[in-house]
């Protein structure tokens, strides 16, 4: 028996506990009792899994939409491509609808309407979050692509490089450096939005925290622990992001 359990067992009767003792009792029930701490980490696993999947979907969709929309806006005047025009219109509708409706409503539509027969809540959650994130990532990337000095792509094209090569080697690497802070921000939002998939029964941290509360009738510690877990994840991520930014700034040395 661990010292935490001993400490808990030695507490006086509920009515006779002092303030600190009752706080410790609540914490013990929320964390140690029946090894509940493992439940939080199960939730954490799902959270990370959903975040990574949603991030992958979001970035792929975002890059695709941003490149289509920028390519459409930068066409040669005499060569308007009809197909590109249609795809561009689809992209515009996608961004407008996703940015114009709440994340939670999108989740419920995905979970209870479109995929109502699916039992794989985690996947549905990851998919909805990815689709949501893609719209924001697309706008961030588009902003980055447009903010770059047009002289850069002119220089690439004047050397005879194709549009795609110019994008790939010149524009995107530079734009990426410029948008990294905004992308990091979007990633943090995404990470925290995974807590919403509990509304469609996705088994992430909040879902388990709630489950624990239904057993202990004590909401304080489960929610505080949940908050602390998110905070730690965000801190670790921000630190990593800072490191990456410093590395990308290598070419700025004078």
């Amino acid at each position: 028996m661990s010292i935490w359990t001993q400490l808990y067992e030695n507490l006086p009767e509920v009515a006779a506990r002092s303030g600190w003792q009752s706080i410790y009792a609540k914490f013990y029930q929320a964390w140690f009792e029946s090894d509940r701490w493992m439940t939080y980490f199960r939730g954490l696993g799902t959270t990370l899994q959903v975040t990574v999947m949603a991030l992958a979907i979001g970035v792929m969709l975002g890059v695709l939409v941003a490149v289509i929309r920028t390519a459409h806006d930068q066409q040669r005047v005499g060569q308007r491509n009809i197909l590109l025009g249609i795809v561009n219109a689809v992209c515009k509708v996608y961004v407008t609808v996703i940015r114009g409706t709440p994340m939670m409503v999108q989740l419920m539509i995905m979970g209870f309407v479109i995929f109502k027969s699916s039992r794989n809540f985690t996947m549905v959650g990851a998919l909805s979050l990815g689709i949501n994130s893609g719209a924001y990532v697309a706008e961030i990337i588009r902003g980055g692509l447009m903010s770059l000095d047009p002289g850069q792509s002119e220089a690439g094209r004047s050397l005879g490089l194709s549009y795609l090569d110019t994008m790939r080697f010149i524009v995107i690497p530079q734009a990426f450096k410029a948008i990294l802070p905004s992308l990091g921000n979007e990633f943090i939002v995404l990470l925290k939005d995974t807590s919403l998939i509990s509304v469609i029964a996705g088994k992430e941290i909040v879902y388990f925290a709630r489950a624990i509360i239904t057993k202990t009738y004590e909401p304080m510690f489960p929610y505080l622990i949940t908050a602390a877990m998110y905070l730690i994840m965000v801190l670790v991520f921000s630190w990593l992001q800072g490191k990456l930014e410093r590395r990308l700034r290598q070419s700025d040395r004078r």
């Binding site: 050397l159 005879g160 010149i170 070419s251």
Partner: protein
């Protein structure tokens, strides 16, 4: 080599180039001068279609490049361009700046491109900067690199868009020297510039532009000694 027929360009309602016809012969060094806003940069940028002409036909080496069906990337591989603000790629080393286009367009293998880059860098005395990034270079050095980068594609013609306008005065000379050397080697050049000395010394023909038209053209000697047009006289009286 480059034939321009009835070229017009407007941005919205603003007519920048007004029905220009001109021919540039192989080996010529055409210097385009004129006041700001006269359309000389736009004229130059139309030659490799960085600006889409509103009207007119441009032919380069027998290819009608204003035809929308023409593969413009292949045309541009034969036309080098140097910009006022250098436009080096800050995310790459100098070597990569130079070798990217020759390798990606299939003109050379990486080793060959590296070798060519080395030779060219030696020529402009910047070999030791091969692994530096553009931000570590001075303006004059950047512009010399930009010229080298264009030359690595082995172009048939070089277009210069005010290559010395953004430089500190003491760095103008080193860039002009590279351009002069290039001229002596027989490269066909179209140069938009404010450097009258360069025009006089290197140019085989001077074009004076204002209001989107070529108002006067002549050999540099005649042009500077006996300007005919009133507008040219006024302009020269101010800049000389």
């Amino acid at each position: 080599m480059i034939d321009v027929k009835n070229l017009s360009k407007s941005f919205g309602d603003h007519l920048v180039l007004d029905d220009i016809s001109e021919h540039i012969y192989p080996g010529e060094k055409v210097v385009v001068i004129g006041p700001s806003g006269s359309g000389k940069s736009t004229f130059l940028r139309c030659l490799n279609l960085l600006e889409e002409p509103s009207k007119g036909v441009i032919t380069f080496g027998g290819t009608v490049i204003t035809d929308p069906k023409v593969k413009i990337d292949e045309v541009r591989q034969q036309m080098g361009m140097v910009f006022q603000h250098f436009n080096l790629f800050p995310n790459m080393t100098i070597r990569k700046n130079i070798t990217l286009a020759p390798v990606r367009t299939g003109l050379m293998k990486q080793e060959e491109a590296d070798y060519v880059a080395g030779t060219l860098l030696k020529r402009v005395d910047l070999l030791e900067k091969a692994d530096a990034y553009p931000n570590q270079l001075s303006g004059g050095q950047k512009q010399r690199i930009a010229i080298v980068r264009a030359l690595a594609m082995k172009p048939k013609v070089m277009l210069f868009d005010e290559p010395t306008s953004a430089l500190d005065p003491e760095m103008v000379g080193e860039v002009l020297d590279v351009m002069k050397e290039l001229a002596h080697e027989g490269m066909t050049m179209v140069v938009v510039t404010h450097e009258m000395g360069f025009a006089r010394e290197v140019g085989s023909r001077v074009l004076f532009m204002d209001g989107g038209k070529i108002l006067e053209q002549n050999t540099p000697k005649e042009f500077f000694a006996n300007p005919q047009n009133e507008r040219t006289k006024l302009f020269l009286s101010k800049v000389l």
